[in-house]
Subunit: 165 residues, 2 copies
DNA sequence: CATTTACGGATATTTTTTATCCGCAATTAA
DNA sequence: TTAATTGCGGATAAAAAATATCCGTAAATG
């Protein structure tokens, strides 16, 4: 039971994009440079975020990615679901129907209680992630960062941002 | 983010073993037959459960597996952790240290707030599974099963169980 | 029109999951 | 003691998924 590393990258990416002025963008290449992760693979994650409506993409010269939603309306679950999908991690193969003592169809009108218990646990997980907004993440990161680092980040943004026309 | 199918098998297995008389066992082969799953692979899962102290193994003729704990002291989390490990599913690679604006070591005394949020969500998941005891699972399964199916199961157990000497 | 950049698809590599097999050790019953 | 049975651990292999890269195309800019 593992999450792809794209999730970590995507959260950092969104936290960075939230710092941009409205309408401004950062190119995928620049984002990969900022995070120091493989550019073509990050590009794939960005495309998934774009399809999910979490970031907005602008093509062409001076194009790139920006946040498509207000940071307070974007949760860690939104980002996770965009990259990992919403399928449950517990896969019920209806083992209860198997074997010499398998249940008949009529006995399976309710979901298997085992699967139901796992689905409920996953709902707890999902809700916990849904309660964490991007604004919370940004606050946490800002609390740990030195003033010098914040300055460097602002400078880097100024050097790499593509401003709206 | 997926759970191995061994988890499903293992829960069904434990639920079945809980029905055995004290000290009695079922061979791995018989269990695979009951669940209709690949015997050598189920055997691997059983070995892991044995190492975790969830089932007790007895070798030799008339050997097999029995539950090592009382069903009310065994949770779905115990079984899941035995097979999947306790490592978090979110893997923090300390991206915050990366790139041109990476955080200095001194800024990373606290865990990354992103990772912390995921770890907390996983704790919710874990706790939800830990609250479900094997007795609860058995009750749920029994509620759905017809009287005829329960009879067949008891008969099958009688035909396959290895009684203690 | 030339340049830049995201998009989608195809492809390759690595890792994980799923699955099988075998020799050994342990246990029991004859 | 012997023979049969059964779990254990390691090695191996096949299948699937995650990770990573590349390229042609479309779109936007100047």
């Amino acid at each position: 039971m593992k999450l792809g590393k794209g999730v970590e990258w995507a959260v950092h990416t969104c936290a960075l994009l939230a710092l941009l002025p409205a309408g401004a963008t950062l190119a995928a290449e620049a984002l990969a440079d900022f995070l120091d992760v493989p550019a073509p693979y990050l590009a794939k994650q960005l495309q998934a975020l774009s399809r999910a409506g979490i970031v907005s993409a602008r093509r062409g010269a001076a194009g790139g990615y920006g946040l498509a939603r207000l940071p307070e309306t974007l949760s860690l679950w939104d980002i996770t679901a965009a990259l990992e999908g919403k399928a449950p991690s517990f896969r019920c193969t209806e083992v209860r129907r198997n074997g010499p003592c398998g249940a008949a169809a009529a006995e399976c009108s309710k979901p298997c209680p085992i699967a139901a218990a796992f689905y409920e646990a996953e709902a707890s997980y999902r809700n916990a992630l849904a309660r964490v907004r991007l604004t919370d993440v940004i606050q946490g990161v800002a609390r740990d960062a030195s003033a010098a680092r914040k300055d460097r980040i602002n400078q880097w943004i100024a050097d790499n941002v593509a401003l709206p026309t």
